[in-house]
């Protein structure tokens, strides 16, 4: 029992939107943009689990997105820096930015990224490892709430300074750019972008299913219980910190996948995702979608980014006002975001509509909706 009937319907609609409607109705440029936005949806989804369900607000999810992305980008960069491609450098075979920084041999921590399987593992493992260290240190000492948020923010700041400062190893503020091929397959062509879009979409749906599984397992109920009465859970024999660590790591892993897909689709990775500002923006995607709504995370991300793109194309000066207003409105007026609006306005309207219809057709059965969360 992974999905309730209602959720199955919702997921089907979303999957149809992502995999059928959008590819059919958008040109490849716009579709690639949607693909990029959907990679942020991974982060938003992670935040639904750890913030919405677990009550842990992290202001540093960009860290995990960034780490996943950097892992992927390092692999792609090594492939793009073959001896053949880089023969004009003083040390051929290493990434161009290393050569500019007088580094003459590949640093040890780049070595694993010569192998794709290892890279794919590290895309998940590196974010999870950092999340585990942070989570273990903080949650076993019962640090939560605002303190945790501020500390994750500081970690994001540290990581940004490090990545920017250690440019010989990381590409610095420019990031890792000019990624070209994946195992010889050119990822820059329209065709490749289309394929990557679908891979991204399928991975996202996979992560959504995983999130639903977690939500409907006893683990999900414990998360809700913990957010509500943490002490009661603790004194029911649960090691609360383990649960928090796990959900934080899970969110990190999902974000890491998003980051890797970002690097593949956009063709570069830069430290501007690791910082504080993008991390907080990603929180707003979740809040707009509804912090308790797994599917809402995707809609929230798409809506905010769509608004950002179209707003800043027409009224660039007003965009920040709009975004700021959105933050405040979501918090003050719609704490449950789109999902809340749907639950309290749209769904009842649909039900009334269906009821009228079923009155006309007495044989039709109504789907039995469970109460909104």
């Amino acid at each position: 029992m992974i999905l309730s009937r209602k959720e199955l319907l919702g997921l089907t609609i979303l999957a149809t939107l992502i995999l059928v409607i959008l590819p059919l109705s958008l040109d490849i440029f716009r579709l690639n943009l949607v693909g990029k936005y959907l990679t942020y949806a991974f982060v938003a989804l992670g935040l639904v689990l750890c913030w919405g369900y677990g009550g842990i607000l992290s202001l540093g999810q960009g860290i995990f997105f960034g780490l996943g992305g950097y892992c992927m980008a390092m692999f792609l960069k090594l492939e793009a820096s073959s001896v053949e491609n880089t023969k004009i450098q003083s040390t051929p075979g290493i990434p161009d930015f290393m050569d500019w920084n007088q580094i003459t041999a590949l640093p040890w921590f780049w070595e694993p990224f010569r192998s794709l399987p290892l890279t794919l593992i590290l895309v998940i493992l590196v974010p999870v490892a950092l999340a585990f260290i942070l989570g273990f240190a903080m949650f076993t000492r019962r640090v939560g709430g605002t303190y945790f948020a501020i500390i994750t923010q500081a970690v994001a700041a540290i990581l940004t300074i490090l990545i920017v400062g250690q440019q010989g190893y990381t590409g610095g503020i420019n990031g890792i750019t000019d990624l070209r091929t994946l195992l010889g397959w050119d990822i820059r062509t329209d065709n490749a972008k289309l394929i990557l879009y679908f891979v991204n979409g399928l991975l996202l749906i996979g992560c959504l299913l995983l999130a639903f599984f977690v939500k409907h397992s006893k683990f999900g109920r414990i998360l809700v219980a913990m957010r509500d009465k943490e002490d009661r859970v603790r004194f029911s024999g649960y090691n609360v910190s383990n649960f928090k660590i796990f959900v934080f790591c899970l969110a990190a892993a999902i974000s890491g996948i998003g980051g890797a897909m970002f690097a593949l689709q956009v063709g570069f990775m830069s430290p501007s995702f690791v910082g504080i500002v993008p991390s907080i923006e990603m929180v707003i995607y979740t809040a707009v979608g509804g912090r308790l709504s797994i599917l809402g995370a995707v809609y929230g991300t798409l809506l905010v980014n769509w608004a950002k793109t179209s707003f800043s194309e027409t009224f660039p000066e007003l965009w920040l006002l709009g975004l700021g207003g959105l933050f405040i409105a979501v918090v003050l007026a719609f704490p449950n975001g789109l999902a809340g609006i749907y639950g309290s306005y749209i769904e009842p309207a649909i039900k009334r509509f269906l009821r009228k219809k079923s009155d006309l057709m007495p044989s039709g059965t109504l789907p039995q909706g469970s109460p909104a969360e």
């Binding site: 397992s217 219980a225 509500d228 603790r234 029911s236 649960y238 649960f243």
Partner: protein, 260 residues
Amino acid sequence: MNPPVTNAGIISDQMAPDFLLTVEGLTVSFDGFKAVNDLSLYVDEREIRVIVGPNGAGKTTVLDLICGKTRATSGSIKFRGQELTRMNESKIVQAGIGRKFQTPSIYDDLTVFENLEISYPKGRSVFGALAFKRDAVVRDRVFEVAEMIFLKDRLNERAEFLSHGQKQWLEIGMLLIQDPDLLMLDEPVAGMSVSERKKTAELLNKIIANRSIIVIEHDMKFVEDIAHRVTVLHQGKVLSEGSMDHVKHDPKVVEVYLGH
């Protein structure tokens, strides 16, 4: 009746096996203020012990210390010979101690069934919880407990819609489903009607068959109904201990409750 308390350290070694719970020399201080001061307490198997005392006597703190919510400054707490002062909370629960909080502490967003199910002692690890299946055994046990706590026909309601008394029962039920050897209840009948109190007393007397219970309570009528023995705390120390009758007539107790 009182166990010898003159030299607790030496005697406890011999006495420990006889008591379910042995608390000796327990002290905790908050910023210099000793909320519990050199307290000793012995609870038998299948005993209902009621702790009474004025506000600030340290009653709730004693329960906090036993279940690990607060760490003792010094002293020892032994449960079936196991030292609890160094164990973490979940391990203490797993050792067989259940604790109800002063205000009913239940999960408002979940149904009564899910409230009980969460407390069911299986799938307590992270991966256990992910793999946990709601099978017939679990279901039967939830039904069984729900019947005991008078909530059988409200299983699918969200807990937030229960009355105050029902929430108290639900929390007791959440402890019962763990089948603990020692049950600690902080004001279990607060906010209950007279008939609910009677039912609660019956419930406690029924479940005592294979466990002990420590109750903190102010309602003297209820205390008389259930208590095997009563401990009176005052300023973090045991003021008096014994049967209800004994305690009621202890001049020290009368002094504390009535005069200054």
